[in-house]
Symmetry: C2
Subunit: 593 residues, 2 copies
């Protein structure tokens, strides 16, 4: 089969829905939009942007992605590219209100889809849904039909397909097709299928479902036994033409199928699979880094395709030999997935042009950074180049970009605040003296707090103390406070910041990594926080649950300064966070597909 | 096929040989022995302990593992266990000196094996070995024959089997069998086979090699496309009865096949594979943590089986449903792989018994810690319990164990040093004033330097300074020095320590992670160092190459104190490191199988 006549594989990315269900991950709206833009540039065909009914925050995120990212064509045109807008998809249970809400969230995208799911296994029908098989078929007919009355592109997923009776499953799928479904997605919900089992299931369903020829079959695999990629490929070999995947394979438990692994298998084995892809593989590494940074889910060095070591060939013979005699497969060159190998360090004399070229090489070209972000990154680069004798490495550059993105992404999206300097005071040690409008007063470019001064004393047998001065944009003044801690200088620093901002904060996660080798390497700090003692929330899918979480990233040669900056960045997001955003419990809106 | 009549799968672990080839990983002898002991308890059948001819250090490590770990039967007896000593294996090129050296290194183990390899692809024969096919066959005959004259258990690997002519490969394997090979290992060297290709290759070789019935076929897969586990399982389904694997899948590039993934596939799908295993899966998590800590190769949260999130089921329905209706497969319960779910925190009133029980639950029972290590861990635990209000979590416990192991493992194994206090001086800022015998003067329990005092001042716009006092066991005195730094308090602290020890050190890697949630979490610091400006080395496999590297780990609520402790731990290892140990270039002894 020639490449031209092959079916195009539909990449359905669920990083923002199933990936975001990873324990500890909660992306806010701005972060989701940032990732969605990158996935659009990458060439993703369908983006599952969220589960709109789960909360007003989810609805808002999906709606903004539909409006702002749905129409984008940057990076999507040309030979071998998708040449269409990205389809924006919203998830819905088989309930009219869910479906209507999902439609309302996605409808402004030029191309949009509703993804409806209902369990089809007897155990789910009996214990969870408390309906009979007949009622199940009726509900599929009614709800897929309702969805189709709103929108021409409808995906249906039989939840727990793996344990559903096969003939009933075929009946359920045929019902969905008759009611108007255009894509049928078959989840290996618990990640326990072998490739031969999963391939056989896809084949069986295609052969035994009435109307199967008129729809696209889709894979949805989990990696509990390390076989998600193999199962997905087995699905493709057996007729699936859509794959549900996430960047870095993030997702609940051991995660979902990795987008980059599936695509590179097809890319390197053009003769082994009956499909072609339209993804720009050169953006894999930078996309992986972005998702790693914003989700806080670190990628291990020995991860296939996007791990730091994936292309470190220690023995030269090996790679040479392969290149001399590439036969049945194409070897992956590092640059094919956006890993630059030259690793030519930039120095203090490198100008704006060299800096820009390097950013482009690393996958941050064109619209990846706004003008303001580019200027901020260049300023940070010059500071860094002055202090680093060995030059600024690719690792440092990735960290710089993450830092700039983090510090310029506030939580909310409302207009800049009115001047509120009358509220300024040198100290604010209670949580009640913030101006009323402070919570919604942050725009992207108007950060509430900035670090002006920091002084820390610590050691073995010494009580750590930190003195911090922040500029408060709302009060229009610098505020200084001091704190001590039992548990080291970072805690003292964070406590002093908390005293200044007057909000009780819970530190959920704290991580420091070096960006490259050597003593003057940058420390990259990631912190994740939430308000302590959040009030219970109402109006969501289910009561109770977790509070919104905020990530801050910063890089500095001084780990304590980096920690303070990261913490302040997270605080700015938390304070700027639209109160209506992301209010839903994270756990409550998890679904098992 | 009933479980009783199934073939037993032979687990050949190469964490210490191929795994150690991961970029940045260099395990010293004590670390290798520690891992070898754990792999023995786990039930590994064959342990590839190293490449003895590569360097005197490699030889010494393999020999000590053969002597000290080879005879161990702890954890290996009982129903469903291996009930035999672990086979200790040494790798050798097809050269008489290599084979003799490998044999000398492993021969003291009750059960031992020599693993001989030779390339069989035309490209390797022509460009690398510069021999004809006939010469290749002759060399296999001679060298496998020579190995067999020393030892009854011989493994042969055709390097670059994937690109070798199939009929010549069968001829080469038949030659190896005739010369006495008992195991034939088929590497997918570049990790680019699909499962169906690799399975077909194993099948073809078994069907077309003369004498194939009398030997064991073995898989050796790499994970470049995320398919190592699937390829290995395809090998088993097509007749392989040995699998070459590493803990956490570490190895060059994207790594080797994960031991834990292959075993858990067989464990959960007893009816899908024609083999049974004899591994104690309950030790997976603690073994994974040990390899992670000692190798410095972090495991991502969404890694199958051993990732931190692998068993975090956020939605209860899901797991319940599975447990109610387990049909064709067995679900993995977290405790099956050593993940404790209760996560009952220990508090300041917890006694020695509760502490010990918790350690056992976490997979550190019995001989996992020496008495001295247990006492040290308990003392650290009591200190920590005093300062942590929320109690000591499982994450903290794993970190404590890693810390104690790191701080009690010196590099060398020679006798304690003679008193050398006459060399003591308040300052030692050059590298020439160490006593002559200081380099080989460290025994396991006699650490050269201990941290007595630390005082750090830093901040934004402040030049960081650190004052450090170390006790020097060789000089028998406390030594204090101070340093400043351009790049933060950690650099200042490390510089002050360098001044005291008088050795120029290169910082290769620095990482901090929190062990659990919350502000009083432990910071776990890992540093990796090498001597700066190492002299070129002689007598190794090849000239040039990299210098030995040393890891130090420490945990403390204060990140700077933890950093100082980790650095000192690494320094103690470096200084105690037997000069003859690990002298070979790491890169030079890499082989592509």
């Amino acid at each position: 089969m020639s490449e031209q006549t092959k079916d195009k594989l539909i990449i359905f990315d669920t990083t923002l829905r199933d990936g975001e269900q990873s324990p500890g991950v909660t992306l806010n709206t701005e972060e989701k939009i940032e990732i969605a833009r990158q996935l659009s540039r990458l060439g993703v065909n369908v983006l599952e942007a969220g589960f709109p009914v789960a909360s007003p925050g989810d609805f808002n995120a999906v709606q903004r992605i539909a409006r702002e990212v749905g129409p984008l064509m940057e990076g999507r045109t040309g030979e071998g590219r998708v040449n269409q807008e990205m389809v924006i998809c919203g998830l819905a249970r088989s309930v009219q209100h869910d479906i209507q809400t999902a439609y309302d969230a996605v409808k402004e995208a030029p191309r949009h889809r509703i993804h409806v799911f209902l369990a089809t296994s007897d155990i789910h029908l009996e214990f969870k849904l408390k309906i009979t098989r007949e009622q199940c078929l009726q509900r599929i007919k009614d709800m897929v039909g309702f969805a189709r009355s709103l929108c021409a592109d409808i995906e249906f997923s039989p939840e727990d397909a793996g344990r559903s009776d096969h003939s009933f499953l075929c009946e359920a799928l045929a019902t969905a097709i008759k009611a108007g479904a255009t894509t049928l997605n078959i989840p290996d919900t618990v990640g326990y299928n072998t490739p031969s089992e999963y391939g056989a299931l896809i084949k069986h369903l295609r052969e035994n479902t009435e109307g199967a020829d008129s729809v696209v079959f889709s894979t949805h695999c989990h990696n509990d036994l390390g076989l998600a990629t193999a199962n997905t490929l087995a699905g493709i070999s057996n007729g699936a033409r859509q794959v549900e995947v996430t960047i870095n394979g993030i997702g609940e438990r051991a995660g979902n199928t990795s987008l980059e692994e599936v695509v590179m298998n097809i890319h390197t084995h053009p003769h082994s699979y009956p499909v072609q892809h339209t993804v720009n593989t050169r953006l894999f590494f930078s996309t992986s880094r972005m998702v790693e940074d914003l989700s806080g889910m670190a990628v291990q060095a020995n991860k296939a395709i996007v791990g730091r070591n994936a292309f470190l060939h220690e023995s030269g013979i090996h790679q040479d030999g392969v290149l001399k005699n590439k036969q049945t497969y194409e070897i992956i060159r590092p640059e094919d997935v956006g890993v630059t190998t030259g690793n030519l360090a930039l120095g203090k004399h490198s100008g704006r042009h060299a800096f820009k070229t390097k950013l482009e090489d690393l996958g941050y070209g064109g619209p990846a950074l706004s003008d303001a972000q580019f200027q901020a990154a260049f300023a940070k680069f010059k500071d860094l180049a002055d202090s680093k004798k060995a030059g600024v490495t690719d690792g440092d550059m990735h960290a710089l970009v993450a830092d700039v993105r983090s510090s310029t992404l506030a939580g909310g999206s409302s207009a800049p605040p009115p001047a509120a300097s009358e509220a300024a005071d040198k100290r604010s040690s209670t949580s009640t003296d913030l101006p009323e409008d402070a919570h919604e007063a942050q725009a992207e470019s108007a950060l509430r707090f900035t670090l002006k001064h920091l002084q820390v004393f610590t050691g073995l047998g010494i009580t750590p103390t930190a003195t911090v001065t922040l500029h408060d944009a709302v009060r229009g003044a610098d505020v200084t406070d001091v704190a001590l801690a039992n548990n080291g200088p970072i805690e003292a620093t964070f406590s002093a910041i908390q005293r200044i901002i007057g909000v009780d904060i819970q530190l959920l996660n704290f991580n420091v990594a070096a960006t490259s080798e050597g003593q003057d390497t940058l420390g990259k700090v990631a912190v994740r926080i939430a308000r302590a003692a959040q009030e219970p929330e109402e109006g969501c899918l289910a009561p109770g649950g977790s509070v919104p979480k905020f990530t801050g990233l910063a890089t500095n040669v001084d780990i304590i300064t980096a920690s303070a900056s990261a913490y302040i960045s997270a605080v700015n997001r938390m304070i700027g966070h639209d109160e209506s955003d992301n209010r839903a419990s994270h756990k409550d809106r998890k679904v098992d597909i």
